[in-house]
């Protein structure tokens, strides 16, 4: 009986949290479109997020390209289809693997740092201090961060995709004597707008999710320093899960439109 009821309350608090997050999202859109807009802080956040994750995204993308190509080569060779390498790699990276992997990396990097930063500001009353100094902390802290994440993620994904393709081209160049020009010619031949548009659109949603969950967890974190760690940790866990759900929805919708 006890087992059942503890699960029940977990279930209820989960849905309560979804509801709170819905309210938080509503407030975000209301405050996004009402004046004033904190433009300087928005640019600052864009810069911080890019600066924090660029190297990580580059390294991950590069290794992803290398490994993916190395692993796929023998299989394609078996079917005598090595010349398909560039098109296969580029389509799978740009459509699916790039966005998801890089969004996950950013959930770990950007989402957790937003959660921790806002969480500690909440706990140490910095958010209250901001409010009594006559500044709307939701606008200054939350709106700028969510919007910056929404704008920066597509950019980071494009960079990550490109670096991954460079990594892949290096392997092809070394193992299969494919020149870089030939490789990228094939890549651009294989990619169509029908690949690029939905792939890029979904990265905006990924960025939004990362910013939203990070801010929500941080802004509503509990008193005490344990609350900060929890905020940052659960921001990453919840975002990662949400990213897969969003990806599934995006793929599902794309499939309806393009087939």
């Amino acid at each position: 009986m006890k087992f059942l009821s503890s699960h029940q309350s977990g279930f209820i608090s989960f849905f309560n949290e979804i509801g709170d997050m819905g309210n938080f999202t509503g407030r975000y859109f209301r405050e996004l479109f009402s004046k004033p807009f904190e433009f300087r802080e928005f640019l600052n956040q864009c810069y911080q997020m890019g600066n924090k994750s660029l190297l990580l995204v580059g390294v991950t993308g590069f290794i992803l390209g290398l490994v993916f190509t190395l692993q796929s080569r023998p299989t394609l060779m078996e079917f005598g289809a090595v010349s398909w390498m560039p098109s296969m790699i580029s389509i799978s990276i740009v459509r699916e693997i790039g966005p998801v992997i890089i969004a996950l990396i950013c959930a770990g990097r950007i989402g957790s740092s937003i959660g921790a930063e806002l969480g500690s500001m909440k706990v140490t009353e910095q958010i209250d201090a901001m409010e009594v100094s006559g500044t709307n902390p939701f606008k200054y802290l939350v709106v700028t961060r969510i919007l910056a994440a929404t704008c920066m993620l597509p950019l980071l994904v494009i960079i990550g995709d490109f670096v991954a393709l460079v990594g892949s081209a290096i392997i092809e160049n070394a193992k299969g004597d494919v020149s870089f020009t030939l490789y990228f010619n094939q890549v651009f031949e294989a990619l169509e707008f029908t690949d690029l548009i939905p792939a890029t659109l979904k990265t905006f949603f990924f960025g939004f999710a990362i910013g939203l969950v990070g801010c929500f967890k941080g802004y509503n974190s509990n008193k005490g320093t344990a609350g900060v760690g929890k905020a940052s940790n659960s921001a990453v866990v919840f975002t990662s899960m949400l990213l897969f759900v969003l990806d599934f929805i995006a793929v599902f919708i794309t499939d309806i439109f393009y087939s």
């Binding site: 140490t124 910095q126 009594v132 100094s133 006559g134």
Partner: protein
């Protein structure tokens, strides 16, 4: 002029779920006076002042600050009113991602369209007032607790507020630093003729600084009077505070 109220709290009630924190609480702060509010830890002092500046909603009662009713006031008016109130938080609450200079500039940039040079001068004056001009380019994490408290005081004063609210200004500091902070508060009081609401359970602080005191007990304004009146009281509940 002396008896003009700047803060009037009447019949204030506030609960969190089942726990009643404030239960018919009344307080009036007059212009130019130092009013000390004493209460046990957890008795709702911080809750009271959070209601006072509109950081928290209350259940029943009325709060007037500088003649304006806090509970039905537009957001823009509330923000305007808040620039007349300086607030020193219990834990200093400096923005830890900003330098001392940026911490002090933050309220200025948002409420004053001063020129760069004027902003700079005001920041320097504020730091001068608290005796820490050399810390201007440091981060809050590089300062000691007492220094952070002073910077927070400088930040609370930078808009030249009419009312200052101190939430336990000496808690967590060693006795010498605490004394320095009290002296600083008194100097500021003299220099800018502000009205202050001081929350503390530090008896020494109350003795030195108070014109009048209120005890918060069981959510009520249990008794008020001067320090000497309360210190000589025979009521065991009051005596407990002055041990």
């Amino acid at each position: 002029m002396k008896n003009q109220p700047v803060i009037e709290i009447k019949n204030l009630y506030k609960s969190f779920g089942q726990t009643r924190v404030l239960n018919d609480f009344n307080l009036t702060l007059f212009k130019g006076e130092n009013l000390v509010l004493m209460g046990k830890s957890g008795s709702g002092k911080s809750v009271l002042i959070k209601c006072l500046v509109g950081l928290m909603d209350f259940d029943k009662g009325s709060i007037k600050v500088l003649g304006k009713d806090i509970s039905n006031i537009k957001q823009s008016e509330l923000d305007e009113l808040r620039t007349d109130i300086g607030f020193l938080f219990q834990g200093s609450a400096l923005y830890d991602s900003m330098t001392v200079r940026e911490n002090l500039e933050f309220p200025l940039r948002r409420h004053q369209n001063d020129s760069e040079s004027k902003t700079k001068a005001r920041v320097e004056e504020a730091l001068e007032n608290v005796g820490l001009p050399q810390t201007i380019d440091l981060m809050p994490a590089e300062l000691s607790g007492g220094m952070q408290r002073r910077i927070a005081l400088a930040r609370a004063l930078i808009l030249k507020p009419k009312i200052i609210i101190y939430d336990e200004p000496t808690t967590g500091l060693d006795p010498i630093t605490a004394k320095e902070i009290i002296l600083l508060m008194m100097n500021i009081q003299k220099k800018y003729a502000t009205s202050s609401l001081i929350i503390t359970h530090d008896v020494d602080c109350a003795r030195v600084i108070s014109n009048r005191m209120i005890l918060l007990l069981d959510g009520k304004d249990y008794i008020q009077g001067t320090f000497n009146e309360l210190a000589l009281s025979e009521d065991p509940k009051i005596k407990a505070f002055f041990k």
